[in-house]
């Protein structure tokens, strides 16, 4: 069964460094998402992406964050200058269509630790 994959599973970085989290969505999916979960808190939406553009983003997704689909398979989340409060589990998700009744398929997550 096709699945969303994410690398790395765990990333440790120093405050102020740039990180890139990578995701390979399911191959025939057209919508891509990033969510994050700070330890002990809710899973929060960050951004959705369609047709090489951001279609929706939350107030969390400020100028420090960017997303890209550099080729036909990868979808990346970049954090330019990490802060301690960026430590969280980051989930990538994809769906065939936004109207497909919103069935989003999630990856296993990347745990980001900022020290």
């Amino acid at each position: 069964e096709p699945e969303v994959t994410q690398t790395p599973s765990h990333q440790v970085t120093q405050m102020g460094q740039e990180v890139i989290l990578r995701c390979v969505p399911i191959s025939n999916h057209l919508y891509f998402y990033w969510y994050r979960q700070i330890l002990g808190q809710k899973v929060e939406f960050l951004v959705s992406f369609y047709n090489n553009e951001i279609s929706e983003k939350s107030e969390i997704f400020d100028d420090q964050f960017s997303v890209e689909r550099p080729d036909g398979s990868n979808f990346t989340l970049k954090i330019r200058s990490t802060k301690l409060e960026d430590s969280a589990m980051y989930f990538c998700a994809s769906s065939r269509l936004a109207g497909d009744p919103y069935e989003q398929y999630f990856g296993p997550g990347t745990r980001l630790t900022v020290t």
Partner: protein, 113 residues
């Protein structure tokens, strides 16, 4: 803004006992409701969803949830749980016209022998 409340952070039960995981959401004109399950070291998997029509929706592994508009609830139930149901369960809502899933804090279900 939409919000989802899962009142129980942890629910321990014995195998073959019934279970109910509670979920309430803030009211909106049109919403779509979901339950996701996360097994250890895995991603979130869709368990079941309510979009329209029958208010009772069922999953293939015996879970069911009922959309109750008047009480703004979408509680998850299973009449007899198995050890393998041990996982974290997340209730989520999407407002019509948005792509953003809004999640509750999750409920850790532990099924003991």
């Amino acid at each position: 803004a939409q919000s989802v409340t899962q009142l129980d952070s942890q629910v321990p039960v014995f195998e073959e006992a019934p279970v109910e995981l509670r979920c309430n959401y803030s009211s909106s004109v049109s919403v779509y409701l979901f339950w996701y399950v996360q097994y250890p070291n895995q991603g979130l998997q869709l368990l079941l969803k309510y979009l329209s029509g029958s208010t009772l929706v069922k999953s293939i592994n015996g879970f069911e949830a009922e959309f109750n508009k008047s009480q703004t609830s979408f509680h998850l139930r299973k009449p007899s749980v198995h050890i393998s149901d041990t996982a974290e369960y997340f209730c989520a809502v999407v407002r019509g016209g948005s792509e953003k899933l809004v999640f509750g804090k999750g409920t850790k279900l532990t099924v003991n022998p």
